[in-house]
Subunit: 255 residues, 2 copies
Amino acid sequence: MQQSLSPFDIGRIRGLEPARERAGGEQVSPCGACSVRHLTFCAPLGEEELNHVSRIVQNIELHPGDPLFDEGEDATHLYSVTAGAMKVYKLLPDGRRQIIGFLFAGDFLGLADDEAYAYSAEAITHSALCRFPRRKLEALLERYPRMERRLLGMASHELAAAQEQMLLLGRKTAKEKIASFLLSLGRRAEQRGQTANPVSVPMSRNDIGDFLGLTTETVSRTFTQLRQAKLIALMPAGRVDLLDVEALQDIAEGN
Amino acid sequence: MQQSLSPFDIGRIRGLEPARERAGGEQVSPCGACSVRHLTFCAPLGEEELNHVSRIVQNIELHPGDPLFDEGEDATHLYSVTAGAMKVYKLLPDGRRQIIGFLFAGDFLGLADDEAYAYSAEAITHSALCRFPRRKLEALLERYPRMERRLLGMASHELAAAQEQMLLLGRKTAKEKIASFLLSLGRRAEQRGQTANPVSVPMSRNDIGDFLGLTTETVSRTFTQLRQAKLIALMPAGRVDLLDVEALQDIAEGN
DNA sequence: CGACGAATTGAAACATCTCAAAACTCGTGG
DNA sequence: CCACGAGTTTTGAGATGTTTCAATTCGTCG
């Protein structure tokens, strides 16, 4: 794997650098300069609240393949992705892996109803994250219900996505899974203000398989099928051109 | 299907009757008498708060097979199950169905990050629910952050369950799926204070299949396999005796 | 340019599905 | 109390989509 940084990601990470430079002094809230704040759970916060957030946040940078935390570890922190792409997954004792989700700028991770993380997290591309001590963040949530409300909204959204994924895993064919996956990646890129059509697919075939409940080989064969049917085109740097979105949507819905 | 009411459920529903009789007058909060409150999102509420809840809640009773709402409908209400068993599911246009979850006393449903329900809900057994107008409940959440916090906790819990189900759907074999399912039903029954071992399985083979991403036939065959291996015994009234929990756990984890 | 991991392609194996029929359950009515 | 009937569950046999195992090609990076 070890995907290199896409042009977009470099831009994102550069954009965040002011926020990462937290001189101890009384400078303006670095969170105020956060270019992806509107996507995160910090979206509803005002000037003063952001200052409080700034004081407890720490900025993390990860390289492709770097682990963030492992399933079962003590869930001491919550994270918000500000740039790049992450994967979160669960393992069975014999090594079978299910990727629970891919995370991009704006997504958070580390919410655990237990004391321990319920999944492992690892960087796919060069990524940047904000790291919040759980206890301190909880104290903040107590003070700023708007933030808690936002978090509930994001959790609801994630829940809906998880349910959609259950439908995919339990009832869709390989072709339907791949079509759904590509469209979903496109939709999410769009939400982040990126280009939805030649969609960026930064993860490996193996990761895609472990996300869709397929093997690497089946993923590859299905891409080939879609390519031969002129529904997609594989471009350099892990980009996929969706040549016939309508047809892909029909396939994704099972028609 | 049309499962008849189990002795337990009758008890539950009877236990709730005081709460269902909402004379318009100034009587004591019917929610104060709720026998499953500790399981619901009303758990953290005090005397006064419960009174407010009582004023906006309505009690619903459903018979086996009764629909509660359909995917895509305007999400005007939230519900909390107080007795019985429900199923929530999503459909593909051609009729393929994925059951997203089975709900029992204490579980809530209807949380939508959109204006519309993301799934359909239907009663499996004779069931009772509390029905809350979304707008009014949201106003209450604003006033009682404790309730919102509890809801976030329950949503996190659901999210973790959904992720576990993704692992099951994407990576487990039929035998592992069935073993996981039975153990999970048992654990949940236990949490509600019911018997975990001869576990109650009120749903049809078809429902189980649509929950686990299998066909009815495969579910049936797998039950037979487990029965022949002396790991379970099928008892009357949809109960399953887990004869060797350890072995079932090993199977469920993929060992 | 050379090399190593990732992706693709091929052929055979297999778990689950599909189609079909028999057996069972349980409520109902004679 | 027993027999009937409709729906559900179980069992069987054959079909199939996906996996497994193996080999080749591609792409990227040193």
